[in-house]
């Protein structure tokens, strides 16, 4: 991992990018998030202490307003905590500036959103290439890897399609391929099946399971029990606090022959 990341940029990357020192991929220490709305201060997260190890498959659950979205934003380095520490891969990102956080997001985190968030009028291939573009990888390498990733999520033949020519499930698979582009240690999915029907939801979750089995740390934020059922650990939030944190026996993935996209199938290969 280190060698791959170290060889990405033309310039030498800062230590917080190249160092991979921690078995604890995510460690939150007394993490507090306060929203200052002017007249009153709202406590979004109340002293969270949480550790997620490398290679875990975790669901973060809670009703809206429980603080799970706030946590998701902080875990994704889109937002900074008000107090406390967030060690991502052993590095405290709580005090980083926005450009440092961009670099962290680029190299360490792969996002999967509820609304897919593909860039419109841009081919699946170009969408998958984007994180690598921001990582300054050369064009040939980018395209090669993007095609590999699309093939891996079962969209090898749809690389040139525009997002609006793809179904919801397919779009989400493009998004997953994109999230994997820079081989980040953490895959962060925010309600990844919220806009999908049941069949597509199952398909996406199975893909996550597969990625998890291959060693990626997957954190899924959801409010659906059926989705959480795929994971191995469920952390429940309420009112900005951890309500419970318990292991889960994941639901068995279905056999390959029942895959809904039979034409292409979902090929999951070792990288």
């Amino acid at each position: 991992m280190k060698s791959i990341l170290g060889g990405l940029g033309r310039k030498k990357l800062p230590d917080y990018i190249t160092d991979n020192i921690s078995e604890d991929l995510i460690r939150l220490e007394d993490l507090v998030k306060v929203y200052d709305t002017g007249a009153l201060k709202v406590l979004g997260l109340k002293r969270i202490n949480l550790t997620i190890h490398r290679g875990e498959f975790v669901a973060i659950m809670g009703q809206s307003g429980s603080g799970k979205s706030t946590l998701m934003n902080i875990l994704g380095c889109l937002d900074r905590p008000s107090m406390g520490h967030y060690y991502l891969d052993g590095v405290d990102v709580a005090a980083m500036d926005s450009d440092e956080l961009s670099l962290i997001r680029n190299r360490k985190i792969g996002f999967v959103f509820q609304s897919f968030n593909l860039i419109s009028r841009t081919s699946a291939l170009k969408n998958v290439e984007l994180p690598m573009t921001y990582a300054r990888k050369n064009k040939k390498l980018r395209e090669e890897r993007a095609r590999q990733l699309l093939a891996r999520v079962g969209l090898g033949k749809r690389a040139e399609h525009m997002p609006n020519e793809l179904s919801g499930g397919q779009r989400q698979r493009v998004a997953i391929a994109r999230a994997l582009a820079n081989e980040p240690p953490l895959l962060l999915a925010d309600e990844p099946t919220g806009n999908l029907d049941t069949a597509a939801s199952v398909e996406i979750m199975e893909l996550f399971s597969q990625l998890h089995k291959e060693g990626t740390t997957v954190v899924v934020v959801t409010h659906e029990e059926e989705i959480a059922a795929f994971t191995e650990r469920i952390i429940r939030f309420r009112d900005g606090e951890v309500l419970s944190d318990s292991p889960n026996v994941p639901r068995e993935p279905r056999g390959r022959d029942s895959a809904p996209d039979a034409e292409e199938g979902i090929e999951l290969r070792d990288t």
Binding site: G76, L78, S98, D99, S102, R105, F111, N117, Y134
Partner: protein
């Protein structure tokens, strides 16, 4: 990365073709007018230069300065002065006459045509291109013998005699109170471009003729100016200075009291005036570039707002402030530079079409074109800064939530 940004910019422009075009329109018009105005100026310069070349750039007139208050009769010239100058400077002077001219009605049968007579020496064709088509030019004998012979152009001959080849024909005219018969000995053809005709007016009714200067300037006459053509263009400044010194001395004056009006100086001042005018009008046209730039800023602001979500996505994928900034700056610069290029084609094309219609070669300097396109890109960059920084500063969470 720059290439990536350019591709992104082009695809963004393609997506909103009509809007992009309308945004460019300000720059197109601005650059188009700047290019055409500057090129018209340059073309005029080259046309005037051509005209002056035809008149003869070595030509000059020597006369007493208008600023001299105590002018005496001796400040003016006589044929003796001319003879002395000729004696001293010899071959350095290609041609010299007394700059004499007169107008009078020429009568042929019942025809009466207003003519202007230009008094010249026999070697005038040495310094002026005269395309003789019939007969001969005035010769030394005509000059020395004060023969009443004339050479006129085809149009004048047509006007007076009703035919082009009027060699041998005579007409009557009154010069200095004497009614005399004059004989046409030669006919030449004037070649003027449509533009020249437009600038100077075609001679459709009147007539022009060359007569021996000795008919218009008599030995005891004082005349105002001496017309000179230096033999060598490279040496002419020095020659004219020396002539001025010599003439001033012989008339008991300082050299500064005499004025040497050269065609070259005149050409310089006309060029300067044309250049100044083109600059001034071009400058005004450049203001429209400012308006175009504001149009770009306006549309880029709209575009940034519309693409808030895209900005959020890009940021979540690792785009830094700089990356977003450069993306939008590239887009506005490209819109503007495209406008600049289209404007250049339009402006340059118009000048070329106009030029070919008037029969003149349009002058479009590559430097001006490069400057215009470069400047339009700078306008795009400048007016793109505010929208781009607005885009770059967007908070990723807010931007991702934007519908």
């Amino acid at each position: 990365m720059l290439w990536e940004n350019m591709l992104m910019a082009f695809s963004a422009i393609r997506v909103n073709k009509m809007r992009s075009f309308l945004t460019m329109l300000g720059i197109i018009i601005g650059i188009g007018s700047v290019i055409s105005i500057v090129s018209i100026g340059d073309t005029m310069k080259s046309v005037f230069e051509g005209l002056y070349r035809e008149i003869g750039v070595t030509q000059a007139y020597l006369m007493i300065g208008y600023w001299v208050d105590d002018r005496r009769q001796s400040d003016f010239f006589t044929l003796d002065d001319m003879a002395r100058i000729k004696e001293l400077f010899g071959d350095e002077i290609a041609y010299m006459d007394s700059n004499a001219y007169a107008s009078a009605d020429a009568l042929y049968g019942r025809n009466k045509v207003k003519f202007s007579f230009d008094g010249i020496d026999y070697n005038y064709p040495d310094v002026q291109k005269i395309n003789l088509v019939h007969g001969r030019f005035l010769n030394e004998g005509d000059i020395l013998g004060r023969r009443k012979n004339v050479v006129m152009d085809t149009v004048s001959a047509q006007n007076l005699f009703g035919e082009e080849n009027a060699v041998g024909k005579t007409f009557r005219t009154t010069l200095y109170g004497n009614v005399d018969e004059y004989t046409v000995v030669g006919i030449y053809r004037k070649e003027i471009s449509p533009f020249q005709a437009m600038m100077m007016g075609a001679n459709e009714e009147g007539g022009e003729a060359y007569v021996p200067y000795t008919l218009l300037t008599w030995p005891n006459d004082y005349f105002y100016a001496v017309r000179l053509f230096a033999a060598d263009e490279a040496q002419m400044d020095e020659l004219y200075q020396n002539i001025k010194i010599f003439v001033a001395k012989s008339k008991g004056r300082k050299p500064e009291d005499f004025r040497m009006n050269t065609v070259q100086d005149e050409m310089g001042s006309v060029n300067g005036m044309l250049g100044g005018m083109a600059m001034a009008v071009g400058g005004i046209a450049a203001i429209s570039l400012l308006v175009g730039g504001i149009g770009i800023m306006n549309i880029m602001l709209v575009s940034v707002t519309e693409r808030t979500r895209e900005i959020g996505i890009r940021k979540s994928l690792g785009a830094r402030t700089k990356d977003i900034m450069i993306q939008f700056l590239t887009e506005s610069a490209i819109i503007s530079a495209c406008g600049g290029m289209i404007g250049t084609l339009l402006g340059g094309g118009l000048v070329m079409i106009g030029g070919s219609m008037m029969g003149i070669t349009a002058v479009i300097r590559p430097g001006v074109v490069a400057l215009a396109v470069g400047f339009s890109a700078v306008v795009g960059l400048f007016f793109g800064i505010y929208p781009a920084s607005k885009a770059a500063k967007k908070d990723p969470i807010e931007a991702l939530r934007y519908e």
